[in-house]
């Protein structure tokens, strides 16, 4: 994942050094936190040197949230049209806020602030992007990927497939009795193989026989509820009535494949992308843990009763007068 089209290319060529050195430095070079800090100072250190900021006067190692801060968090939650937050949800918001504050201060320490509102707003996120760039620097070995794949293979599961026939009972023909019509038909077709029941039911608008259909395709074709029900069925018998966005159906599954885990060799490029994504999260987590260990965080006690009377004035988030084209 490359987030900035014009981001400077980090020193990716450092892997080209000869093998001896590579082996010797391999462990160090693969240390994510080191990468994070090295690239961080490469990108921003020079800038800091050229643009010395003002001396910091306040204690940058303390984060104190007041009750008002927490209420403010809750108000922005409400402003998104949601119902009042629970204390657990508030804890989540607080945690997010603290994390953002820490990342922000770390970034300021690197000299990224300047007098720039947008930069200030986005600094914490940029630390995130930085982690992504560092993750992308890594060049995993096949062995590493294979090991990682063994643990994460579920992520690469191929979708389920079903081949099935169905009999359709339309509310256009039967009104509210469409379900009963389908249930009655089940009594007559039950036990008969699908080849012998073609004349039962109403004409369906699309196909009577689907082959190798995936859950996503069937959700588009029949609606999500039908797709979900379909992949719970047992092959080799008539089942139903099952409801779709069009009415009721009796379904005969010819074959069902619940999907499978592919072999490593089938999905190497996706595994590599997934590995990098994982590295990104891991680097972020390690770096954040390390940084957070240097802070003392104070959060007030949170009670649901403090949040009940919150109100948001209409349109309070709309501050702009720019015509979208």
């Amino acid at each position: 994942m490359k987030l900035f089209p014009i981001a400077p290319e980090p020193a990716a060529k450092q892997d080209d050094v000869d093998d001896v050195v590579k082996t010797k430095w391999q462990n160090v070079l693969r240390e994510p936190l080191l990468h994070f800090l090295v690239v961080g100072s490469l990108l921003f250190g020079g800038y800091h040197f050229l643009n010395p900021g003002e001396e910091e006067g306040v204690d940058t190692r303390k984060i104190v949230l007041t009750k008002d801060d927490v209420r403010q968090l809750a108000i922005s939650w409400l402003a998104q049209g949601r119902s009042a937050p629970t204390p657990e949800q508030i804890m989540g918001l607080v945690d997010q806020k603290v994390t953002q504050e820490i990342l922000f201060r770390e970034a300021v320490a690197l000299g990224l602030d300047r007098d720039d509102e947008v930069v200030k707003r986005r600094l914490a996120q940029k630390m995130d992007f930085l982690a992504a760039d560092v993750a992308a620097l890594q060049e995993p070995t096949t062995e590493q990927l294979n090991t990682w794949f063994t643990v994460n293979s579920e992520r690469f599961a191929l979708p389920a497939h079903a081949s099935f026939r169905h009999l359709y009972f339309s509310p256009d023909k039967h009104g509210k009795a469409a379900r009963e019509a389908a249930a009655a038909a089940l009594a007559t077709v039950g036990g008969r193989p699908p080849e012998n029941v073609a004349a039962v039911g109403d004409t369906f608008m699309f196909q009577n026989h689907y082959r190798d259909a995936t859950p996503e395709q069937m959700a588009k074709e029949f609606g999500p509820a039908f797709s979900e029900a379909l992949f719970q069925l047992t092959p080799g018998k008539w089942e139903g009535p099952i409801r779709s966005g069009y009415g009721w159906h009796l379904v005969w599954i010819d074959a069902m494949d619940l999907g499978r885990i592919p072999a490593f060799t089938e999905v190497i490029p996706s595994v590599k992308a997934g590995w990098i994504e994982d590295q990104y999260r891991e680097i972020k987590r390690i770096a954040l843990d390390e940084m957070r260990s240097r802070y003392v965080v104070t959060v007030p006690e949170i009670n649901a009763s403090d949040l009940r009377d919150l109100q948001v004035s209409a349109g309070s988030s709309a501050q702009f007068e720019v015509p979208p084209q």
Partner: protein
């Protein structure tokens, strides 16, 4: 549960792809997609608060993954799409985002300081500076450095390529050309057939805001082997300049070459998007009871502005196109229709029940949306869900979808996944639809939407229409066929109900089909599918067919009423739905028309009509201003419309107002007035003045000229919008 045929199943990825291996037309499927999507890369989107997500997230969203709304919450599409092109504004694309990104090279340019959002340099100031540069044609050269624009464009391309998965999800290399002379919307989305031979940078409105120049550039691309098409949008906000009938955007008279170039380059237009519907307006179609649907009328960026109606709607453009074909031999307006979004949020809301606004932080919450705010002319309460583009294509690939767009076998919906088919032909059997294989017969015996009926003699055309509901939305109310035609320079339209749910009977007097009813509870924002149909279809023959007249036919499929997004929002807030917006909507699909062109022999058999040329060749002369004043001011005219046979009484008052006092020996009904005189629904009164040899009447902001000729002892009048015909015979002048 058993597992069978693992290997086979792995190889056969989708049923659709399997079916698509046959290129036979009857195997075409409806693929649903988005042709108009902005991300943080668009100048205006960034400034209204969409600062993080780009084209990559736009594709992820359309494939079904949740992404972040600019306001920070998760949004997820209900049913994933089949295809999409991200269309960020090409003008200064990405530069604001990059200037505010300290790691980018542009942030180090001196000009970047002007683009950084600070206390003294707010978003509005930046926007005005850049938009001003586009409008005044004074480009900011530092920001047009090919190194910069080229790398943004190539990144856009790389992302489109990354997400293009033939057979599953198709992406396009595309952008929006943002021409807006004097706030009049002339925007076009430009779609390339594939991404193999793309230009180094797109053609922008900074280079030229004339569509003719865009088309010429596109012609050049096509010659270089890079096929491309444009989709115009928001004709409703164009102030009448989207579909001109006399001169082009540079003031040159329209001609066959202009029409040809337009049709080659922009075969499609958006009939619906978040900023309103461009099908027709209630004042243009007073007989169409469903015309008042998601109407917006303003000029982008201007508070309290209105956009002229004439020249701003597709139905009238189709009608004028026929008249141009009949009188001048070319039709620039045989375009197809699509539905689209224009959301500036990277994510797009299609469903009334899953609506989250379209303009960054300005409409991000139910409270903000219902607050009644007007943002730079745009009334948020009037904006709506995104439409959908539906293509009838063999397979889900760039090649197949692009080909469907070019042959206009496409239609638009208001955002729901209605499947709509339409075919026109001369020999369709009434019982055709009883056959399970009817689609094959329909293709074999005629043309699908977007096509032209072949020439035929002595026959009446019939049309096969069929619609299936969205499986995750409301049932269907009815299918209508909208017919437009022209005679002697006048344009006409009629709406026919051709298939409907239940056992409703049209009113024997008015011919109107009763409404389907409503199951909506607006206090809870709920509805049921206890009314309406799953499927509607019919074979319909035109009962009024005249083989000598040019005509078009398109289908409109209506859903039963369901709650509008504003009603869902009101329920979320625990308040009543706003009184100044409809509480329910009848969502719908509009097909591209099928056109009928009479043969020269059929035209020759019809009535000829009288033209201004005939009059002047016969020695008639036009009255001068003084003669006109003497003839009309303070007098009532008894005039016969020779095309419709209707009689009008028109009083030209001393006060500069002209009033239609009688029509067919009785007081005029508003809908009659429109058909005969293109007047306004709100009354038969309009201001007039006499100048340059014409009686100039201004209707809905558009001036129409009436010229009066002497012809023997008679007076004959011609209207400037009737393509050279002189259709009004003055029967008597009364004091």
């Amino acid at each position: 549960m058993c597992r069978m045929n693992r290997k086979t199943l792995l190889l056969s990825s989708t049923i659709l792809a399997l079916a698509a291996t046959s290129v036979a037309a009857q195997e075409r499927h409806a693929f649903f997609g988005q042709t108009h999507q902005h991300t943080s890369w668009s100048l205006d989107a960034y400034i209204i608060g969409n600062t993080v997500t780009g084209p990559e997230e736009a594709y992820q969203y359309s494939m079904g993954q949740p992404i972040k709304h600019p306001a920070g919450y998760d949004v997820q599409i209900k049913t994933p799409l089949d295809f999409q092109g991200v269309t960020d504004h090409s003008e200064y694309v990405g530069v604001v985002r990059l200037a505010n990104d300290p790691t980018s090279s542009i942030s180090k340019l001196p000009v970047a300081a002007k683009l950084k959002v600070t206390k003294d340099n707010g978003p509005i100031k930046i926007f005005q500076w850049m938009a001003g540069s586009i409008a005044s044609g004074k480009p900011i050269s530092e920001l047009l450095d090919p190194k910069l624009t080229g790398s943004v464009w190539s990144e856009n391309t790389a992302i489109a390529e990354k997400y293009n998965k033939p057979g599953q999800f198709t992406t396009f290399c595309s952008y929006e050309w943002t021409s807006m002379p004097n706030n009049q919307n002339m925007h076009r989305n430009v779609f390339f057939k594939d991404c193999a031979k793309l230009p180094e940078a797109p053609f922008t409105a900074i280079e030229s805001d004339h569509p003719e120049d865009l088309w010429t550039w596109m012609d050049g691309q096509r010659k270089a082997g890079n096929d491309v098409l444009a989709i115009s949008h928001n004709a409703n906000l164009s102030n009448g300049i989207m579909f001109p009938t006399d001169v082009d955007s540079k003031g040159n008279p329209l001609d066959a070459a202009w029409a040809q170039q337009r049709m080659t380059n922009e075969p499609l237009t958006e009939i619906k998007q978040v900023k309103g519907v461009s099908e027709t307006h209630p004042d243009l179609s007073p007989n169409d009871e469903f015309a008042n649907y998601e109407i917006m009328n303003y000029l982008i960026g201007l508070d309290n502005s209105t956009s002229k109606l004439h020249g701003s709607y597709t139905r009238e453009a189709y009608q004028n196109g026929l008249a141009m074909q009949a009188t001048r031999g070319y039709n620039p307006y045989k375009f197809g229709v699509v539905g689209a979004g224009d959301s500036h949020n990277t994510a797009t809301a299609y469903s009334q029940s899953n609506f989250f606004g379209a303009h960054g932080l300005t409409d991000a919450t139910p409270a903000a949306r219902l607050a009644g705010k007007v943002e730079s002319g745009m009334n948020i309460l009037q904006t709506g869900t995104s439409g959908l583009t539906v293509v009838w294509a063999e397979e889900n690939t760039r090649e197949s979808i692009f080909a469907a767009m070019q042959r206009k076998e496409v239609y638009g919906t208001s955002g729901v996944r209605i499947q709509a088919r339409m075919f026109g032909g001369w020999e369709y059997d009434k019982g055709l639809l009883a056959d399970a294989d009817w689609v094959k017969t329909a293709y074999a015996g005629g043309v699908p939407m977007g096509g032209d009926l072949p020439a035929a003699e002595g026959k009446v055309p019939s049309f096969v229409v069929a619609a299936v509901k969205d499986p995750a939305d409301g049932n269907l109310d009815r299918i209508q066929i909208i017919k437009g035609w022209t005679k002697h320079g006048q344009i006409f339209e009629k709406v026919f109900d051709v298939a409907w749910s239940g056992d409703r009977q049209p009113d024997p007097v008015s011919g109107k089909l009763p409404p389907v009813g409503s199951t909506v509870d607006i206090t809870k924002a709920t509805y049921t599918n206890d009314i309406g149909s799953v499927e509607l279809k019919a074979v319909w023959a035109d009962p009024d067919f005249d083989p000598g007249l040019h005509a078009f036919y398109y289908a409109r499929v209506l859903q039963i009423p369901t709650p509008r997004w504003s009603t869902y929002d009101a329920v979320k807030l625990g308040i009543l739905p706003p009184s100044n917006a409809p509480a329910t909507v009848q969502e719908r699909a509009w097909t591209t028309p099928i056109w009928y062109t009479p043969t020269p022999a059929a035209i020759a058999r019809g009535e000829r009509g009288l033209t201004v040329d005939d009059l002047t060749k016969g020695g008639s002369t036009a009255l001068t201003d003084d003669q006109l004043k003497q003839l009309v001011v303070g007098k009532t005219f008894n005039v016969r419309n020779t095309v419709t046979g209707e009689n009008l009484q028109v009083l030209f008052g001393e006060n500069g107002q002209r009033i239609v006092t009688q029509l067919n020996d009785g007081p005029p009904k508003t809908e009659d007035l429109l058909q005969v005189m293109h007047t306004r629904i709100s009354g038969s009164t309009a201001a007039y003045e006499i100048r340059d040899g014409h009686i100039v009447t201004t209707i809905e902001g558009t001036p129409f000229e009436l010229t009066v000729y002497t012809s023997g002892d008679k007076y004959i009048a011609a209207r400037s919008n009737e393509f050279g015909y002189a259709n009004y015979e003055v029967q008597a002048v009364m004091q």
